[in-house]
């Protein structure tokens, strides 16, 4: 069942995209579209000349020269690398703080690192516009102290900072988990063998933490390589990534180019992910930390230089982190209640209400957006939950070819929504023929399917660790007592991993609420738009209502976040 759903909802659409890319109008098969893209400096920059069979010696000097052309794909990779470096740079101090220090609210802060996963990226974009825009909070503060305003919008910096907002907490989260699982007695053994504290860190702690940092970095690269809403909102078409161009092709109905570009993007991000997975498989050292390293108090009783130095560094970090992580959200909330004259106002919310009352059919009205978001999220959760649970059960069993099932089932995590959206659009919404019948699927159904596909890997991620951690003898005992395989899942396994199931459901719900990419491709009709799509349509023209809408979205996702956290998202893989 689940596999059939996966095929229809994911692999078939992806396949459609693939086929689309190689078939020309008269039905012949060609790689011409690929070849054109590969040779076009517009996409590949100077590298394209290599694909165009120019001599490497002629190209090399241009590649290293300062005014080289990167091309779209080059630029996408470039901003992904920058974002990855910046995310690791901002994630590691947070991991250090969380793993090594004890202070009030540490648990809460650790929990907060999960927030970006449930924050819709379009909302983050709104927050960034509200913070770094021409009239944003940052310039207001700078102006108040007499400094000249800075123009960050539509710059690479803005995109990178937004990516950091999203991915640094991820790096922090996986690194903290690894750091906490370092066994204190391993460090103590090293110390007793003559290693100083720094040497012990280098020899014992670092090798165990390093793979986690790499995990964070690899995921960050893949996520930022396939970034879309943030770049669309903060970069526009001047600083477009591959995704944005795919979107533009879709809008211009150039499906073959969109598909070919999508395939190239897919190959690159899957390549990185596979390379990483191979590395991980070779380097997984599961040391279940018997006894974690003791935490130091954040506020030492005796202020010596050695005690103070790392804490001063952390204090500096907190300022930067505040600007990157807190300011956008705070600014968005602030902007939603600030009028044009700077005074407090509810005008923007009133605008939404008025628009709802008086808006014409082709205008974006808030209530359908909210209603659609909630309906789609509910339906997508209902779909994602059983899929995720079944996949989780499958991935925790041992049998031949399990690795393949693993990878195939988790692939949607690495494939950007735009490809799924495009595939669903071409494959299902435009219809397909079965024995002479033309079957088409409504746009809203396709959206639900796309959301379920985007959300179920999170169900897998929250349910599978619990299932894998279950004592096999519990299951075998139940079977020996007469319970069938299915009965065991119902009576023993699901009750024991229930918190994970609920957390997974909340994840799926939140992912669906925030999903933008696939939705914007599929929401062709006037009726199928969701809150994120509404925000995007507002953002260009009216920042105020966009922020007001963003606040509503924040509240809805915040609620599902509370559910996630209450039910143990904490100990999960993500």
């Amino acid at each position: 069942m689940t596999s059939a759903l996966l095929v229809v909802a994911f692999y078939y659409p992806i396949g459609t995209v693939l086929v689309e890319a190689v078939i020309v109008v008269d039905g012949g098969v060609t790689l011409g579209v690929f070849a054109e893209i590969l040779r076009d400096p517009f996409y590949f920059g100077e590298l394209a000349r290599l694909f165009a069979k120019e001599s490497p010696f002629a190209v090399a000097p241009d590649i290293v020269s300062s005014d080289r052309r990167l091309g779209i794909i080059g630029f996408t990779a470039y901003q992904a690398v920058l974002s990855t470096i910046a995310s690791v740079a901002l994630g590691l101090p947070a991991a250090y703080l969380l793993a090594r220090f004890e202070f009030r609210g540490r648990q809460a802060l650790r929990s907060l690192t999960i927030v970006p996963f449930v924050l819709p990226s379009i909302m983050v974009a709104v927050g960034f516009v509200a913070t770094f825009g021409r009239n944003g909070t940052l310039n207001a503060v700078l102006g108040a102290v007499g400094l000249p305003p800075v123009e960050l919008m539509f710059t690479l910096e803005a995109i990178v900072i937004a990516h950091v907002f999203y991915n640094a907490p991820l790096v922090a989260r996986v690194t903290t988990a690894a750091w906490e699982s370092v066994d204190a007695s391993a460090v103590e053994t090293a110390r007793s063998l003559g290693a100083g504290p720094i040497r012990a860190f280098y020899d014992v702690v670092a090798p165990q933490v390093y793979p986690a940092v790499l995990t964070g970095a690899a995921l960050t690269f893949v996520f930022t390589f396939g970034t879309f809403p943030i770049v669309l909102a903060l970069g526009g078409f001047q600083l477009a990534t591959v995704e944005v161009f795919i979107y533009r092709f879709v809008r211009d109905l150039s499906y073959a180019e969109a598909a070919a570009l999508a395939i190239i993007e897919l190959v690159i991000s899957l390549g990185v992910l596979l390379a990483y997975l191979r590395y991980e498989a070779r380097n997984t050292v599961r040391s279940r930390g018997a006894r974690p390293l003791p935490r130091r108090s954040l506020f030492p009783s005796a202020p010596t230089a050695r005690e103070l130095l790392p804490r001063l560094g952390l204090a500096g970090y907190v300022v930067v982190a505040g600007l990157v992580f807190v300011a956008p959200i705070a600014s968005m909330v602030l902007a939603s209640v600030t009028g044009g004259d700077g005074g407090l106002t509810l005008d923007h919310y009133r605008f939404l209400v008025d628009r709802q009352r008086t808006g014409t059919a082709f205008q974006v009205r808030p209530w359908p957006a909210i209603r659609n978001s909630l309906t789609f999220a509910g339906a997508a959760t209902l779909l994602a939950l059983p899929m995720g649970v079944v996949v989780a059960v499958l991935t925790t069993r041992r049998y031949r070819g399990r690795k393949l099932v693993d990878a195939a089932a988790m692939a949607p995590l690495a494939v950007s929504g735009i490809i799924v959206g495009l595939g669903l659009l071409r494959g299902l919404v435009f219809g397909f023929e079965v024995w002479g019948w033309r079957i088409t699927v409504a746009g809203s159904v396709a959206i639900v399917v796309a959301h379920a596909v985007a959300g179920y890997p999170f169900v897998v991620r929250t349910v599978a660790p619990g299932l894998a951690g279950l004592d096999r003898s519990l299951i075998e005992s139940a079977r020996a007592l007469g319970a069938s395989r299915v009965r065991v899942i119902r009576d023993i396994e699901l009750p024991l991993v229930w918190p994970g199931v609920v957390a997974g459901a909340a994840f799926a719900f939140a992912i669906s609420i925030g999903e933008f990419t696939a939705t914007v491709v599929l929401a062709t009709g006037v009726d199928a738009y969701t809150m994120p799509v509404a925000i995007e349509r507002f953002i260009g023209r009216r920042l105020g209502p966009a922020t007001a809408m963003g606040v509503i979205l924040l509240i809805v996702t915040g609620l599902s976040f509370v559910v996630v956290e209450r039910l143990g998202g904490e100990s999960r893989g993500l």
């Binding site: 004592d471 003898s473 519990l474 075998e476 005992s477 139940a478 079977r479 020996a480 007592l481 007469g482 319970a483 069938s484 395989r485 009576d491 023993i492 009750p495 024991l496």
Partner: protein, 381 residues
Amino acid sequence: MKAVGSEGDRGPARGPDGDPPAVELDGVTKRYGETAAVDSVSLRIREGEFFTLVGPSGCGKTTTLRLIAGFETPTAGAVRFVGEDVSGVPPERRDVGVVFQNYALFPHMTVGENIGYGLKFADSPDRQSRDERVAELLELVDLPDAADRDPESLSGGQQQRVAMARALAPSPDLLLLDEPMSALDAQLRERLRVQVRAIQSELGITTVYITHDQEEALAISDRMAVMRAGAPEQTAAPRDVYRRPASQFVAKFIGDNNVFVGRVTKVTEVSADAADDTSVAAVDVGSETLRVALGGAGDALDVAVGDRLTFCVRPEYLRIDGGESRIRATVANAEFLGETTRVTLDWDGRDLVVRTRDPLSGGVVAGFDPEDAHVVRVDTS
């Protein structure tokens, strides 16, 4: 080479009434990739018997149990319950009760719900008879008031008894116990051992017990199979396994033992009419010539001069300043164990173990009588 077996090695194919055995493994092999965890094992377990599989870790005993339970399917061979092939029958339809090393009590259920779980799948699962059966079993395992308790609030020994009760509740035909006591401390283990055996005798249920503890195996079993590298080396009653180990491995694994290897220099045949006497071989081991009994008239081992003989002598039969064959050795190490002292002697670089009451030191003479030596292997020249 001629293997020297004991009579228990070849258990009867059928019980006294000609019934097929309760459990029969017929050439069962279980492979994981290239390695065979269980290698063409044939065993027959009789109705009502307490049968133990004992061996070092990795010998395949747990896999054997899992094959009987149905958690694993054999790569080759057949598992039969009372003559019927059950190789394709899933565990829930085999009517077996299983107790695991960690008890595997369902943490989200009370003790009573745990015990009652298997009754849900019985033919007439009405609530009242279920509750009665649960109370009955709690009585049996001596935990009458525990029904509403949380399994995690019980001690290890209590959890073990609940696991027993849960396995027995649906009245299975077969009880399988996978090292059910190895997580408990030594004193509790001995107490529970007696209790488990008493319950088994009371119910008369065929039981397969897994342990790596040879002492436990000797104490609890009707018959036992000593396993090594995926196959049993000897299957017999505990007394026979101890007295007449079938191989050097069994001799060393079950209890303490001194193993000697030497060449036969002379065989003294006993005359046919001397019923209580035995043939004796003189064997050169190191610097000494030791005399080893080969058995009485009629069933004496076929040994010729020049054969290589492997035999063993239990420490308790190796006496200081006693016995017919004498060995000069020096004390290398002594462990005081309470009732006895286990003394390791050095005999020209070989280790010998004796048990004594008196403290020993320096040079000693240890000896044994020919009847106290047991031949485990004969290699003809």
